[in-house]
C-alpha cells in the first residue's frame, strides 16, 4: 500500500528491491547521501570507555552486578553499531535477539523470518549467524567488516520510494498505546520518529522478551517510573537486575533522547532531531543534501544551529551550550555521589543485621534514586535537549537517595554503627575503583571485606 500511495503521487522510484537491507546497495542511486553516510566511519579509533575519571567514574559501582559494570563505551556511530554490539562484554551466552533490535538493518528480515521467536532467541548462537548470512559476500571495504548491515538506509527509508518509514514495531506499538497513529505523522514528525525507533528507553517485557517502551503513562521520567512500578510489575517485570552492593532490585535506563527532547524547548517548538543532527549540507558543486553523518551538531554550528539562530554568533551558541552542559554535569556528579553512598549504607544495614523491612524500604528508595539519575545520565546530550527536565529528575533522584540514607542512618545508629568509620570505608572503596587503571577491572574493587557482595552472603 505504501508504494501504491507513492505511485499515486507520481514519485521517483528506485531500482532497488523493496526488501533491500544492504547499505552499499544504495550507493549507485544515492552517491551523495552514501558518501555522507561513509563519514560515520571516520572516528576509526577504538572504543573509549566511559569509566574514566573525567567521564563517569562511578558507574562500575552504580551498575554493580549488571552487564554495564563490565564495559560501557562512548558511541562510535551508526556504521559501527553491529560490530560494537557483537564485541561488547555485556553480551554473554544468555543474551537474546532483542539486543540486535537497534543495531542492524537485518532486524525487519529477522522478524519476518522468525516472528516473535526473534526476541528471545539466543543472540550469539542464532541471531548473529542469521544476521550475517543476509549480507554474505556483500561486504564493502569502506564500511569495514560489518558496516554493510549496520544501522542504515532501509532502517529509515523505503528502498523503493525512499520515503521515511518506521521499521521497528516497538515504536509503532508504544505510540499506539498512547493513542498516536504514526502512519498519520507529518514529514516533520517523521524526522524525529525515525530516530525514536532506537534513541529511547526500553525494557524486555517478561513474556516474549520483546523490546518494549514504557510510555503508557507518558514520556517523562516520572511517568515511566510510574509505569515500571505499576503496569510493568503487573505484567511480571520486577527489575532489570539485583544490585550486589545494596541488594536493591534495580531498573536500567537507556538513551531516552526522544523522551527528554519531547518536552524540552526544541521538542516543544517542533524542531526535529534531523534539523540538528542531519542538516542540509552542500556537496559536490552546488548540490544540497541531507547530511547522513550523525554526530554532534556542535561540530557544525553554522549548518545546524545557525540556520535558525542566525542572530547569534557561533561563539555565543557554543558558550550557551557549554553553560547548560557544565551546570548539568556538575549536578550529575553530586547526584550520583548520593546514590553511591546509599548503596554502601544499605550494604552495611545488611551486614549488621538491620530489620529486613527497613532494608527493603531503603532499597526501594535506592531503586527510585538510581532511576531518576540514570534516565538523565543515559540521555546523551548532557542536558541540552531538556535543561529543566534533566535538573528536575536529578533533584528527584537526590531526594530519593537521601531518603535511603536517612533510613539507613536511623537503623545503623540503633545498632551502634560508627558512621564516621563507615564514611571513611566508603571513600577508600571509591578511591580503589578510581585508581584501577583497567576499565574492565574497576568493578572488582567495588566490593571488598568491608562491603561484601550481598548476593554471595549465606544467611
Amino acid at each position: 500500500s505504501k508504494s501504491e500511495t507513492s505511485t499515486e503521487q507520481d514519485m521517483y522510484t528506485t531500482q532497488l528491491s523493496p526488501d533491500e537491507i544492504v547499505n552499499s546497495a544504495f550507493k549507485d542511486e544515492f552517491p551523495l547521501q552514501y558518501e555522507s553516510y561513509l563519514k560515520n566511519m571516520v572516528p576509526e579509533n577504538d572504543n573509549t570507555s566511559k569509566f574514566v575519571e573525567d567521564i563517569e567514574p562511578n558507574l562500575p559501582i552504580l551498575f554493580h552486578n549488571y552487564g554495564f559494570m563490565l564495559e560501557y563505551n562512548k558511541t562510535r556511530g551508526h556504521t559501527y553499531a553491529l560490530e560494537d554490539v557483537m564485541s561488547i562484554a555485556r553480551i554473554n551466552d544468555d543474551s537474546i535477539g532483542s539486543c540486535m533490535t537497534c543495531k542492524s538493518t537485518a532486524v525487519p528480515a529477522l522478524l519476518d523470518e522468525m516472528g516473535d521467536d526473534y526476541w528471545s532467541a539466543n543472540f550469539k548462537e542464532e541471531i548473529v549467524p542469521l544476521t550475517l548470512s543476509y549480507g554474505e559476500g556483500l561486504e564493502s571495504d569502506e564500511l569495514g567488516t560489518y558496516g554493510h548491515l549496520s544501522i542504515g538506509c532501509s532502517d529509515c527509508h523505503d528502498p523503493v520510494t525512499m520515503e521515511l518509514r518506521i521499521t521497528r514495531p516497538s515504536f509503532t506499538n508504544a505510540m499506539a498505546r498512547q493513542g498516536i497513529d504514526v502512519t498519520e505523522a507529518t514529514k516533520n514528525d517523521m524526522r524525529s520518529y525515525v530516530c525514536a525507533q532506537c534513541h529511547v528507553e526500553y525494557y524486555f517485557e517478561p513474556d516474549k522478551k520483546k523490546v518494549t517502551f514504557p510510555w503508557d503513562n507518558g514520556l517523562k521520567p516520572e511517568e515511566m517510573f510510574e509505569y515500571k512500578e505499576n503496569q510493568a510489575k503487573e505484567d511480571g517485570f520486577e527489575y532489570d537486575w539485583i544490585h550486589s552492593i545494596s541488594g536493591a532490585p534495580m531498573l536500567k535506563a537507556q538513551h531516552p533522547e526522544f523522551e527528554l527532547w519531547s518536552y524540552g524547548p526544541h521538542g516543544e517548538a517542533g524542531v526535529s532531531c534531523a534539523d540538528c543532527h542531519m542538516p542540509y549540507e552542500r556537496t559536490d558543486g552546488s548540490k544540497k543534501i541531507t547530511s547522513h553523518h550523525w554526530s554532534s551538531p556542535m561540530d557544525n554550528v553554522e549548518q545546524t544551529c545557525r540556520t535558525c539562530h542566525s542572530d547569534k554568533s557561533e561563539a555565543d551558541l557554543v558558550e550557551r551550550v557549554e553553560n547548560i552542559q557544565s551546570r548539568h554535569l556538575e549536578a550529575m556528579e553530586e547526584t550520583q555521589d548520593h546514590s553511591v553512598r546509599a548503596h554502601y549504607y544499605v550494604n552495611r544495614m545488611i551486614t549488621v543485621g538491620a530489620p529486613q523491612e527497613r532494608i527493603e524500604e531503603a532499597q526501594w528508595y535506592i531503586r527510585k534514586g538510581q532511576w531518576f539519575w540514570d534516565i538523565i545520565a543515559a540521555e546523551n546530550s548532557d542536558g541540552f535537549h531538556n535543561p529543566q527536565g534533566g535538573m528536575d529528575a536529578m533533584r528527584t533522584s537526590s531526594d530519593a537517595s537521601n531518603e535511603a540514607i536517612s533510613i539507613a542512618i536511623e537503623e545503623l545508629i540503633k545498632l551502634d554503627v560508627d558512621l564516621e568509620e563507615l564514611e571513611a570505608q566508603i571513600e577508600e572503596t571509591i578511591q580503589a575503583v578510581y585508581n584501577e587503571e583497567d576499565p574492565d577491572l574497576k568493578h572488582t574493587h567495588a566490593t571488598n571485606d568491608n562491603f561484601p557482595n550481598v548476593l554471595e552472603l549465606d544467611d
Binding site: L32, M162, T186, S272, K288, D311
Partner: protein
C-alpha cells in the same frame, strides 16, 4: 457597509496608481523598498530587510506572486487597498504587531522556492516544515536581533549615581 465601499474606492485608486502609466517603471516603483517604507509602520521591516543578504531585492520579490503579471496585479491591488485603508480610515484597527497573513505566507514561500530552485532541486524532501522556509530560516530577511536597531548595542554615556 460604508467601509466596504471605501475599500472598493481605495482599491480603485491603488489599481489606478499601478495602472496609470502601465509602464515597467511604475510597476517597479510600487515594488520598491522605498515605496513600502513610505508608511512609517514599515520602518522595522524596512530596516531589518536593508541589513540582510536580501537587501538588493524589492519587497514584492517576496511579497507578491511573481508567476504571472495578472496574479501580481490582483494581489497588489488587494493588499494595497487593505494597507491604505488601514493606514487612513482603519488606523485604530492596526494591530500593534503586524504579522504576515496565511495567504502572504504562501506567496512568500513560493517566491523563496522560485529564486532558490537551483539550490533546492537536489533536496528531495525540502518541504518538511508546515510553516515553510522560515521555520528554519527564521531571520530571512526580517528580524535579525528581534527588530533591535544596531545602535542599541553601541556603548552609551548614561548618568548613574554612585
Amino acid at each position: 457597509m460604508v467601509r466596504k465601499k471605501l475599500l472598493l474606492v481605495l482599491s480603485g485608486i491603488f489599481i489606478g496608481i499601478v495602472l496609470f502609466a502601465g509602464t515597467v517603471g511604475s510597476m517597479k516603483a510600487t515594488d520598491s523598498p522605498e515605496f513600502c517604507s513610505t508608511c512609517h509602520i514599515m520602518d522595522d521591516y524596512y530596516d531589518s530587510f536593508m541589513d540582510s543578504n536580501h537587501a538588493t531585492l524589492s519587497c514584492n520579490d517576496c511579497h507578491a506572486p511573481n508567476d504571472s503579471l495578472t496574479a501580481k496585479l490582483v494581489f497588489k491591488a488587494k493588499a494595497g487597498a487593505s494597507h491604505m485603508y488601514m493606514n487612513t480610515l482603519g488606523s485604530d484597527q492596526i494591530p500593534d504587531n503586524i504579522h504576515a497573513t496565511a495567504q502572504s505566507q504562501e506567496v512568500i514561500d513560493k517566491n523563496c522556492i522560485t529564486c532558490h530552485e537551483a539550490g533546492l532541486e537536489n533536496v528531495a524532501f525540502h518541504d518538511v516544515k508546515e510553516g515553510g522556509c522560515v521555520d528554519c530560516h527564521r531571520h530571512v530577511p526580517h528580524g535579525n536581533g528581534g527588530h533591535k536597531p544596531e545602535d542599541w548595542f553601541d556603548p552609551g554615556s548614561y548618568d548613574a549615581r554612585r
